[in-house]
């Protein structure tokens, strides 16, 4: 456990100092600017605008930090072969991968929660309103989504042979993961058997990122998040991440470092 923690701390520090948080800072500035602009133009409720844009900003900035982090660390670890030094130590490849995932996730938590604080501040101090409890649930859902994507991204890093590959795989997973609803709709349509088999594979292999999309239902008066819903989403996020982690671990064990 101590070794995993050491890798986590190492990764967290590496990412923080890679100036990735500039992305977060730029996102915050853009968010505040947009909030200000839209509140002047009075498109709907100011509070609603603050929260909608804030939640979208959390997701986008978290994703950007993840993609950039994957690109930066792929260059160091794989291209420049810094990974040799880690793997020659008394550390299993599984411990290394888990430590990296947790380090990335910690940075993502910092980005998402930091943005969340900015949004809460805007709503309370600028908008003079209150933040609904469901907003905090949305933030946790985004964090769960980031956990799944971090595990996937790091697994791609262990499989891919280039930095561009890692970034593209992760990006397309995000894109397709949000289209799972459309895939489900297509499955109910009349079409060739083989296309349906292919779509079914896509449906089961790709993460259902729409399951984490609570922000579209922030103002749904009928939405009640009970223990059963929490259980489902937590189980889905962690079991999916666990399977992906196992695949990454097996690939890392098999990988040769020339």
């Amino acid at each position: 456990m101590r070794r995993i923690l050491a890798v986590t701390t190492f990764t967290f520090r590496e990412l923080l100092r890679s100036r990735l948080l500039f992305v977060w800072l730029i996102s915050v500035i853009v968010l505040c600017g947009l909030d200000f602009l839209l509140s002047i133009l009075s498109f709907g409720s100011i509070l609603q605008i603050f929260m909608d844009l804030g939640l979208a900003g959390m997701e986008i900035s978290g994703l950007l930090v993840l993609l950039l982090g994957l690109a930066v660390t792929y260059t160091t670890e794989m291209d420049q072969k810094a990974i040799f030094l880690h793997l020659a130590k008394p550390l299993t490849r599984g411990e290394y991968l888990l430590g990296r995932i947790l380090g990335f996730f910690l940075v993502n938590c910092l980005v998402v929660l930091g943005m969340g604080l900015v949004v809460v501040g805007l709503v309370i101090f600028l908008g003079g309103g209150t933040v609904p409890a469901l907003f905090y649930d949305c933030v946790v859902f985004i964090l769960l989504e980031m956990f799944v994507l971090t595990t996937l991204g790091l697994t791609y890093q262990m499989i891919a042979t280039s930095m561009v590959g890692v970034v593209l795989y992760t990006f397309f997973t995000v894109f397709l993961g949000h289209c799972i609803g459309e895939v489900q709709w297509l499955l109910n349509q009349e079409m060739s058997h083989w296309i349906k088999v292919l779509l079914r594979m896509v449906y089961y292999i790709l993460p259902n990122l729409e399951a984490f999309n609570l922000k579209d239902r922030l103002y749904d008066p009928n939405l009640v998040l009970g223990w059963a819903q929490w259980q489902d989403i937590l189980l889905y996020a962690f079991s999916y991440s666990f399977v992906v982690f196992l695949i990454g671990w097996i690939n890392l064990e098999k990988r040769e470092f020339r």
């Binding site: 923080l16 020659a88 130590k89």
Partner: protein, 326 residues
């Protein structure tokens, strides 16, 4: 030719049996197969320093990576410190310095050593104490707080050896450890190796630097085109009768007396003759008979170099013009 077995009382630190590695590259229709290692058998004994020599592309780094399980063998097996490298207890006792080590540039030297120390199980004040010891040993105490991005090549190499030593290894594996070091750093590194050897650490050095081999190693192995050509104790090599090149220096006005030396191994040049040790005595007596003024005779290569060239069959090197000769 299979390497000669050397009997020793020490147990094996690394036992390699029939180790082969084949790389497959290219696409489906144009596959290319490279045999990086071909059935290598090698024993490296505990408390000894072993130097692996070979030309670029001979398979030295591949051999080290196979020992460390960074690559998987196509055939054969490796035992390290009596067990498998996959065991944590075995890795705990190994230090590894890759050729030109690369570190995350966002950390300081001290942070890197702390991290690698914690992977070896050190924590708290024990970790800090060990990091201080290593910083002192590699003479990096004053630069320990600086980010690695500001380090020179030599400083990176020092941090590299530091991380390899942080776990107090019983076996130290180094791939070109002198890369990037200035003469002072080179001497310090050599002294570290000699001290480690005295303290009972087994050294496995993959190197091109013959001086390092002569001064540090007890045994050497010569790898050529993926095959282990020779394994011999350094003392035996230094006493061996492998011919060394010599330079016979004569007065500038004596050039006509150098013409027509009837030995293939003797090459006449401005101001002297480059000659193989095989015909040194005959050449000297010929020059004496011609009343040539010989100013001096000096070896152009070391015994280890000559042994190395002989082992890889590079006899042509003996007659090749060298730097430093006219």
């Amino acid at each position: 030719m299979e390497p000669t077995a050397v009997m020793t009382d020490s147990p094996c630190a690394i036992q390699i049996r029939g180790l082969s590695k084949t790389y497959k590259t290219g696409f489906w229709f144009t596959p290319k197969v490279t045999h990086a290692l071909k059935g290598v058998h090698l024993d490296i004994y505990e408390n000894q320093a072993f130097g692996l020599m070979g030309l670029n592309g001979a398979g030295k780094t591949t051999l080290i990576k196979l020992v460390l399980a960074l690559l998987r063998p196509t055939a054969g097996s490796v035992m390290v410190l009596g067990g498998s490298i996959a065991q944590r207890s075995v890795r705990q006792q190994i230090g590894y310095l890759p050729e030109l080590p690369y570190f995350s540039k966002q950390h300081t030297g001290r942070e890197l050593l702390e991290y690698f120390g914690s992977l070896h199980g050190f924590s708290g004040s024990t970790l800090q104490h060990r990091v201080d010891e290593i910083l002192e040993l590699i003479r990096m105490r004053s630069a320990a707080g600086l980010k690695v991005s500001g380090y020179s090549k030599g400083m990176l190499q020092r941090i590299g050896i530091g991380q390899a030593l942080i776990g107090k290894p019983k076996l130290l594996i180094c791939d070109e450890p002198m890369s990037g070091l200035d003469p002072v750093g080179y001497k310090e590194m050599r002294d570290i190796f000699i001290d480690l050897k005295k303290a009972g650490t087994t050294l496995f050095l993959n190197t091109h630097i013959l001086d390092e081999v002569e001064r540090v190693c007890d045994r050497i192995g010569i790898l050529h085109e993926g095959s282990l050509k020779e394994v011999a104790p350094i003392s035996k090599i230094l006493e061996s009768s492998v011919p060394v090149d010599y330079w016979i220096d004569v007065d500038s006005g004596e050039a006509p007396k150098l013409s027509g030396i009837p030995f293939q191994e003797a090459v006449q040049k401005n101001g002297g003759v480059q000659v193989s040790g095989l015909v040194l005595a005959e050449t000297l007596s010929l020059l004496t008979s011609r009343k040539a003024q010989v100013k001096g005779v000096r070896p152009l290569s070391s015994q280890v170099e000559a042994y190395f060239l002989n082992a890889i069959g590079a006899q042509a090197h003996l007659n090749r013009p060298r730097m430093g000769t006219p």
